[in-house]
Each structure stands twice: as structure tokens, then as C-alpha cells.
Symmetry: C2
Subunit: 385 residues, 2 copies
């Protein structure tokens, strides 16, 4: 983007800020962090009675930079630029949008690459395991710092949707609505298995050094690349990959054995390598663990109905036809539990060939559902004024 | 198995034999092997007019040892013991069953671990790429060596089914019937992507040494373990994994961060490690390449109908409801092409929760279909006598 060229539908230039919590923070695992920092961005303006706040919760590899640009020269907008901005489904003209990098992340919030004050060295593998519940608790501290006692909406895809669900359970009175996109009330054994393969790829990389790779001036890039490749393939649908790559050979000649032959291979390698250069391996391990352990029903005798019985949020649950990693059945489980518990829920199954990745794409019917739901949220918040 | 304990439905003790082809053998890639050896087993007796021969084609990680035991002390039967033997669906009282380790394998047939006569060293990564067509050509040489000019049936699951299909296309007059189980006329982009992840895991293992690991007294066990884990997860169904593992924790305490926590992880690691100790990494690369390149329609202007137009075999095409790696749709493509080409085909979709692995399991309806089809094959072969 060059100066003055800010698109009218972009939030434009944004500057990340840092919230510092200076007291002990007890984690679900029983360990205590001696304070922490969260990096975050905001888009739009908080209204006088702070009734228009909206929280964006990120997924496995996301961060705080969801929309806009960091400088006039910046060519790459935030990861959800298509959805967040003036007049967009998540409308920055209406909502005060808060987007943070979660605790344990590697983009500015306290995490494995931060310094452990007790040792003066990076936490590395000693960083405590963090759960979705911990994220919600830390997000509440950030919200209060910003003068927000109640969110009009909490929105997230995949692991982000899990945070929205946990908010509605842990803080019924603070969660006006919860939008869960391509998410699940807990992972399946297959999902855990894919995460385990990703973790094995990282921890068996000889540059992993038991997680102390930074002290050896190394990073397990190959392992993280493989981990990302596994994720990437499973986030796409078979149909979507067929449309995108078919079986096209990179060279026309199958008799020549090359390292890379099918286009899909070359694409996956590029994506995996690029990811491994911008993400921290210990954070990836931590995030996949948070995914695996998420199971709010486990606090309620394994009953999801009981888990959501005391929620007060209006729910919107969205899933995509070809998403096989977080299938429409997983969303239906949530919807069924909410209906059984007589909660307020609307849901949509969106036709899309793009698998789990659909939640990041500007699919018209998806954005219609999301924007329509948020219209009503805004009208109600406005009416309350 | 202890002596005298041979199950009445087992072929009992079998001894692998070796067929040596002592002339040049031209491969599809244009390179020539200066002869080769194939290790094989046979079960049952070839009848006087050699009309009861049945060929078993193995899948990615299979070998020649499909049934019986190698010694009285042997406790582990061949990989398809449930299906092959006296009175079993593939009945050794009726058929002369031939089962071999394919060219490029690592269980006795010429492959990457064999010595390259030109150099006196193991072939390693220099072993030429081998295709399904090459396998069929080498299997024909073995058949002739055994006095077989015509197979009553050629049977294979997964990659094995691809060989059965290629036989029917390349040698219509020699293929009485072809049984294709959980197979496909070619891989999807998703399947190729999973194979690519497996190959990346192997070739980025620092013990891979560009494929020359044996010269360093090493083996890329970790990479091969990861490759197998990817395969394993994708060969099971989500439902099947849920039934087998659910989300059971190995330790009851999710607050303790361990290396292995969910039972599914421990199972996958064990299976992967065990596989890496008995399989050669270069062979795994070669086999996945053969899978990726298989595409008989490509010789017929991308028309599968044209590819099967000259086949004479009676086809039986079997698939399994929860197999998502070689889905029922892939089998249906083959059946549709055969019907359009007015070929003789019967097909069955078998209800099973076990994903792609179903083809190795003694599922009653599956064995009924297989046994019933082979009953007719045998009756016709017998009638011809």
C-alpha cells in the first residue's frame, strides 16, 4: 500500500499496543506466571457506554494483526482483512474490535520466546501449558484494561471458536453473543492424531534440542515445515485440491524422477517453509496442546448440554460442507446441545469447496450470515443505549 | 505357532522361493535393469491345465508373505491370513495362489537395498523408479516361470488393486478376472499431498544422507516413523479412531505435560517406530511414487473408458463406506467406466467403520462378496476343464 491509498473499506494503518498484567496469573495447570504481556490491536471506537466491543479470537497460527496495515509501505494486510473493516461483516464503523495475540504466542505476547524472569533466559520448552480457559481469563484482563466489562460479540474460527464458546460458559453475563465458525466442542481422536504427527515432526527434528533450539542458534524449520504441511493438507478439501492443482505435473515428463513433481507438492513445500520461518516451534506445540485438551464438557460430567446450560449469549454457529477436520457434524453437536439446553442459537452450513480454510475466505453466503447476525447484535446494542 | 498346531484353515508352513530373471528388463522410465530377482510364495496346487492360478498383488507396505507361517515356531502369520487358506474366501484348496514381493521392495526382491552389479554397492537412491506397469511386466515373467499363461483371478487392495486393473488393461487375454479392493484409477491431489508429506519426512531426516544412509550405517527411522504415522491416520476413519481410542488420556491428569498423553498418540508412535525398523526408506519413497504416477487413462487421452475398453476380465470392485483415502467414489469411477465400456463388472460398497484398513480385515459381508465372486470364477475355470 502506498500513502494515501488506504482502501475505503480497510481500517487503514494500525499500531499494535501492549497490555502488561503485573500480578501473578494462575494457570489451569496449577503453575503461576509472574505477570505477562499481551500484544493487541483495536479497530473502530468504543462507544460511551462501552456496549459495542467485539473480541476476535485467533486460531492455531493466527495473531493480533487481523486487519489493516502496519505502515504506508505495508503490502500485506491483517489475516482477516476481507471480513473486518468499514462496511464489512465485522464492521469497524459500528464495533470496537479488539484482536490480540494469545498468551503463549510468538508475535509479541508473552510466550516461549519471552524471557523467563526467574532465569533470565527464554522460557522455551519450560513455558507452562496454556489452555483455552487460560486464554479467556487473560482476555478478560485485557478487556477490563480497555474499559470493557461486556462484549457485544466474541468471534472466532476453529480454535478461535473454542475460545468464544469458553467465554460464553465462563462469563455468561459478559458474553452478549458468541460466533463459532468451523469449530468443535472438542477434538476427535483423528484430529488429535494429526496434531500428534505435527508435534512428532517438530520434536524429532535434530535442531529441536529438546526445545532449547534458540540457545543453539537453531530452529527446527524442517520439522515445523512438515507440521504445517500436515495441517495444510487437512485444512483443504479433496475437491478443493483437485480444483486447485488437479494432478498437474510440474515437469511434463513423469519418467524424470525429480524432488518435486506434482504442483501440489511444490505448493505445500513453499507454504510449509515460509511458515517455519515466521512461527516459533514451541508455540506451535503449545497451541496444538491447547486444541487437544479443549473439552468444556469434561467439567460437567461430560455433558455439553450441562456445560452450556448457564450461558446467556446469543449463539451463531457456522460450518462448511467440505471441512473434514472440523466437520459440520461437530458444529451440529454444539447446536444440538444449545437447543437441548434451550439456549438462543442460529446456525448455518455453508456450501464451500475449500475445506477448513473456508473460514478465512470471503464466501458471499458466509459473510451474509455473519454480517446479518452482527446487524442484529448491533441493533440490540444500539437499542440498549 | 507350535508344531502340530497348524490351524486347519491355514496354509501352514510356507517357504519363500526366489525367481531370477537373467536378462535385461526395460523399465517404463527408459532405464534398464540387468536382470532381477523376485521373492514369492505359493499356496495350493496348480492344476493340470494351469487354469486355477490366482495372483495376489500387495499394497504400499506389503510383501510376498500373505498367508501361513515360516516355521513351526513362527507366531505371526502372513498379512492376509484371514482371507487366504483352505475354505477361506481365497481358497487354497481350489486355487494355486501366487504372492510376490514387488520389484523395488525390501523383503527379498531386487530393490534399493540390493547390490547394483555395476558398482558393487547397494542401489540406494539410484534404484530406478518403478511403475505399476513395470510390476505387471515383471509379474508376467514370474507367472511364465511357474507355467502360468493365464490367471483365473488377480486380486489386490489399494495399490494392489491398481496392479489388478493394469493387468486387465495390459494383458486382457491373461486376466480371467480382476478384483479391485479399496482402490482407485488414479490418486487425488489430496492423496498425492499426503504421500509428499511422507516423502518429505523421510528425505529431511538427517539420517537420510541423500538416500545413501546404509553407507553411513544409518537409517532415517524418525522420518519413516512420521511417514507411517501419516499413512496410518489416513488409513483409519474418524469414526473408527473414536471407537478405538476415543479421547482417552494415557495419564488421567491433563495438567501434567507429558510427551505422550492421549492413547491414540502412544499407539501411533508404537506403530510408526515398529514399521521404521522393518521397512526400507528408499523402498517407501519408490512405492509412494508408483502410487502417485499410476494413471492408466493417461495412455488413452485421459479416458478411463477407453483404457478399459479392450479388457476381457470379469471385474469385481469393492470399497468401504468410511474409507476416505480411497473413497467409494473412486471405486465408482472405475465401475462407471467399465459399465460405459460395456465390460463385465459387479461391485459392492461394504459398511465398515475401519476406513481404508478395512480391506485387510475379515468383515463378514466383504468376505461373502469376495468368496462368492471367486466361487463363480472357480466354477467357470472348473467347467472349462
Amino acid at each position: 500500500m502506498t500513502e494515501g491509498e488506504t482502501s475505503s473499506s480497510s481500517v487503514g494503518i494500525v499500531t499494535p499496543r501492549v497490555f502488561r498484567h503485573d500480578a501473578d496469573f494462575e494457570l489451569q495447570c496449577g503453575r503461576t506466571l509472574p505477570g505477562f504481556e499481551l500484544v493487541y490491536e483495536t479497530y473502530g471506537e468504543l462507544n460511551a457506554d462501552a456496549s459495542n466491543a467485539l473480541l476476535i479470537c485467533h486460531a492455531l497460527s493466527g495473531n493480533h494483526h487481523a486487519a489493516g496495515y502496519h505502515s504506508p509501505e505495508d503490502r500485506k494486510p491483517g489475516w482477516w482483512e476481507s471480513c473486518i473493516g468499514p462496511g464489512k461483516p465485522i464492521d469497524s464503523n459500528r464495533f470496537f474490535i479488539v484482536s490480540l495475540n494469545n498468551l503463549g504466542g510468538c508475535h509479541g505476547s508473552t510466550g516461549p520466546i519471552s524471557t523467563n524472569p526467574d532465569t533470565g533466559s527464554p522460557w522455551g520448552p519450560e513455558f507452562p501449558p496454556v489452555t483455552v480457559k487460560d486464554w479467556v481469563a487473560s482476555q478478560l484482563l485485557l478487556a477490563r484494561h480497555l474499559g470493557i466489562e461486556h462484549f457485544a460479540a466474541i468471534v472466532g474460527g476453529s480454535l478461535g471458536g473454542m475460545q468464544a464458546l469458553q467465554w460464553a460458559i465462563d462469563h455468561p453475563e459478559r458474553t452478549g453473543s458468541a460466533i463459532l465458525i468451523a469449530s468443535a466442542a472438542r477434538l476427535s481422536a483423528q484430529n488429535i492424531a494429526f496434531n500428534e504427527i505435527a508435534r512428532q515432526a517438530i520434536t524429532t527434528d535434530p535442531n529441536y534440542f529438546g526445545g532449547r533450539y534458540r540457545e543453539h542458534q537453531q530452529h527446527p524449520n524442517l520439522g515445523l515445515m512438515l507440521a504445517r504441511m500436515v495441517g495444510h493438507v487437512t485444512y483443504l478439501s479433496d475437491d478443493g485440491m483437485r480444483q486447485k492443482f488437479g494432478r498437474e505435473l510440474k515437469s511434463g515428463d513423469p519418467s524424470v524422477a525429480q524432488d518435486v513433481e506434482f504442483q501440489v507438492e511444490s505448493y505445500l513445500q513453499y507454504q510449509g517453509r515460509s511458515f517455519s520461518e515466521r512461527f516459533d516451534a514451541n508455540t506451535y506445540l503449545l497451541m496444538t496442546r491447547a486444541l487437544d485438551y479443549f473439552d468444556p464438557a469434561s467439567d460437567f460430567d461430560d455433558s455439553l448440554v450441562e456445560a452450556v446450560a448457564s450461558t446467556q449469549a446469543r449463539f451463531c454457529v457456522i460450518s462448511f460442507t467440505t471441512d473434514w477436520r472440523f466437520s459440520t457434524d461437530r458444529s451440529k453437536e454444539i447446536v444440538d446441545a444449545l437447543i437441548t439446553a434451550k439456549r438462543n442459537v442460529c446456525s448455518a452450513v455453508i456450501e464451500s469447496p475449500h475445506g477448513h480454510d473456508s473460514f478465512l475466505l470471503p464466501i458471499p453466503r458466509y459473510f451474509d450470515v455473519l454480517g446479518g447476525f452482527l446487524n442484529r447484535v448491533y441493533a440490540d446494542a444500539d437499542h440498549a443505549n
